[in-house]
Amino acid sequence: MLSVLKAIWAVLLHMFRPRVTVQYPEERPHIPPRWRGRIILSRDPDGEERCVACYLCAVACPVDCIALQATEDGHGRRYPEFFRINFSRCIFCGFCEEACPTYAIQLTTDFEMGEYVRQNLVYEKEHLLISGTGKYPGYNFYRVAGLSVKGKDKGQAENEEPPVDLKSLLPGRMESEQ
């Protein structure tokens, strides 16, 4: 019986506690930089599309919401003819970003994607492709690091680039690299 009264009293005292509610449109919530929001396709530092239309993201996607068609340009470089993400099905799991070998597909901190028409949630390549490099400024998939041979390590010869740090996606790395 006493515990019941104590519980009522404790709850009553919550009247004077600060509110935890974030008054969203006026007050912005804190969004961590690794937030998994609206998906973009990025370009490499030379301004070319990073995506090589390997379909790995589409395969990794647990809800099958990525559709694309591979094609080749005049130099034989692969790129997606169309690239479509149905955001009404996307669960923002980030698997596509993890699967991508070229850092092309990336999740961003934007989450305000509300639409009145469901069809508008289907994003085409023109909506997805951005002009910049996204989270990985210097990375270019086509840069060659070469092989290490006697007297020369990877990326030390002419026209070679130092190898990409494969573990740069692991937590705690991004800050140290910048």
Partner: protein, 317 residues
Amino acid sequence: MSEALRSIIIILSVIGGVMTIAAGLIWVERRLLALWQDRYGPNRVGAFGLLQVLADMIKVLTKEDWIPPFADKSVFFLTPAIIAITTLLTFAVIPFTSTILVADLNIGVLFFLAMSSLGVYSVTLAGWASASKYSLLGGLRAAAQMISYEVFMGLSLMGAVMLAGSFDLRVIVEAQRGLWYVVPQFAGFVIFFIAGVAETHRLPFDLPEAESELVAGYHSEYSGMKFGMFFVGEYIGITLISALITVLFFGGWLGPVLPPVVWFLIKTFFFIGFFILLRAALPRPRYDQLMALGWKVLLPVSLLNLAVTGGIMLAGR
């Protein structure tokens, strides 16, 4: 002003007032619950979110009003009205002040008890007529809970009735001029309050609804305004029990300086707030715990209270 016109005005304003309070409680409850849970509650629609009431009303009125094909149609249709009508009718005998009351019934307390017994039918039959197992379980619980808590709800009032020597609610208030009955009848007050919570099947005694076990209990199958009627009936019930506590134990409209009706409203709203605080604070007991509390604790205590009150009154003769 003729007597008839005066009565009609009082009746209309009581109905209007009670319905407004019942509707407003939707907002009050949500804001108060939020207050005690470190949130804000609805604060977007209109000033302080007050127009939320309107928005909720539009919503509930425009929802599809669906009657399941397997339901017992006529009973299903009637039950939501019963709870709203019985609780509203009881307001006829509540004296808001010595002059503002609809019917000066000399058996007001009994009338209230009769109406609340009728209200049980609403919930029980709603569970039965829905012909779904969750509703039926809710209805069964409602029947057991409300009937057993009614027993000592009546008994707990008798102390106040004995002290005042009348079943007339107005006389009971007048008899509290010197001392509110909450002092000599504290046990009666506590028991009446607990029974009142059970009678309106509010949390923590919302076992007929128990959304964590029974979907929504007796009104699982109800939608649209039929569900709205249960909702309104529940809020009128809260207002009613709070008003009765005020009348029976806290001296009704009696109080210094402020006009009587203001005192009545202040006291009533205090208890409405307490109802909501209970909801915010307490978990729902198990069904057998509820029954055990009722029959093994509250009933003996209310009988004891009655015997002691009677004994003291006899000794004081």
